[in-house]
Symmetry: C2
Subunit: 229 residues, 2 copies
């Protein structure tokens, strides 16, 4: 199995999102050119990304929407469902438990876990929440390999270690903590801070740029005024 570049993997769901829309509208073919226009990704890039998933298109026509969807989904392993445990049924955790979107994307959250005894035992959006001390046992017994980490930052490292000891192979990390784990363990960070960082900086850059343009036009106006005088 070839290793698909991260950046390609991150673009694939974007295409998929559009493709679902097309399928819904009854459109059955789509060109890479059009996908490029809609995503802002360069058309040759789209072609390369698509090529990596293994489908071939028809010149002058493009790709069959259904084929592309199938190809991307199977490439991302979104066709058969993987079980996952979620640890930390706080605000964010419980919002994820109810996120139906995941089921469409091959992720099946089968249980939640929390140290807080008042949360444990309850059902959140139809998902059962166990006390934390049952994690290791259930994880091994049910052969769950994906862990979703939504605990407070200060518990992240310890919880992650427990997950790994219990047989978790991949951690979807929603905490800002940088996990230090065994090399083989797959850690994927949903990095809100990283995203916010880009947003903040770009906005600052924009403000400055705009104010410079203001200055320029002011100066221009002055010059014109002076010319009038």
């Amino acid at each position: 199995m070839i290793s698909i570049p991260v950046l390609t993997l991150k673009r694939l769901p974007q295409y998929l999102e559009l493709l679902y829309g097309f399928e819904h509208e009854g459109q059955d073919t789509i060109s890479a050119t059009r996908l490029a226009e809609l995503t802002g990704v360069h058309m040759t890039q789209v072609r390369k990304d698509i090529a990596l998933t293994g489908v071939v298109g028809i010149p002058k026509v493009g790709h069959k929407v259904r084929d592309l969807i199938e190809s991307i989904e199977s490439c991302l392993n979104w066709k058969d469902h993987s079980s996952a445990f979620l640890v930390g049924v706080g605000r964010l955790g419980s919002s994820l438990l109810g996120y139906s979107e995941f089921k469409r994307k091959g992720l099946n959250i089968v249980a939640g876990f929390d140290t807080d005894p008042s949360v444990a035992g309850s059902l959140v959006d139809g998902v059962i929440v166990h006390p934390m001390d049952k994690f290791a046992n259930l994880c091994r017994r049910m052969k769950v390999h994906i862990g979703i980490l939504t605990v407070p930052a200060d518990q992240a490292q310890a919880t992650a270690e427990l997950m790994v000891e219990s047989g978790i192979l991949a951690i979807w990390n929603f905490t800002p903590t940088l996990l230090q784990l065994d090399e083989g363990i797959i850690v994927e960070d949903v990095d809100m801070s990283a995203s916010l960082a880009v947003l903040s900086r770009r906005l600052s850059e924009k403000y400055e740029q705009d104010s410079q343009q203001d200055n320029k036009s002011k100066n221009k106006k002055n010059t014109i005024d002076q010319e009038k005088q």
Copy 2:
């Protein structure tokens, strides 16, 4: 103001997270080498990233933790607070309203908005929730330029357009929808799907790799067995 590469911007919060820890522990200097070890980023990369924020270090010693923190924070504009409006006070939206982390990162969510009249008017984690029709007015009056988008996917595009019309310059998009907006508008996607895509694929790759190794060792065993015979 120089334009800092996206990938650098995404690494800066990671360094910052570690630096807060060091400061908490009373450590007052840190080397790029050490940061590299902890983040897994190459040491020269760390140096380049740090250089972009404008600080200079001391050979043989490294950088003053406090200076680095200040430099990164000001680089990301996390020192002075920006106001933001959040639209879509559902599960995810309300979990974000209570996320105290943001205040430390220069983001101040001053109000929530929702079309659901039963939510509007209430307080969620001390943040007032207004009915959606007040958005445009309040946005202009309070000069809010950041919008957080946590509405259902099918309302994302329309809501985003309304935001832009009301004076929003940057949208922090938590929906899977690919927004089609004016070029000048800054859109930053918190792409859970993208993240999940990487996780799923990497796990598939790992499974296959492992099973291949299993086959190899089986074959090896067979060979050995045969040799024994």
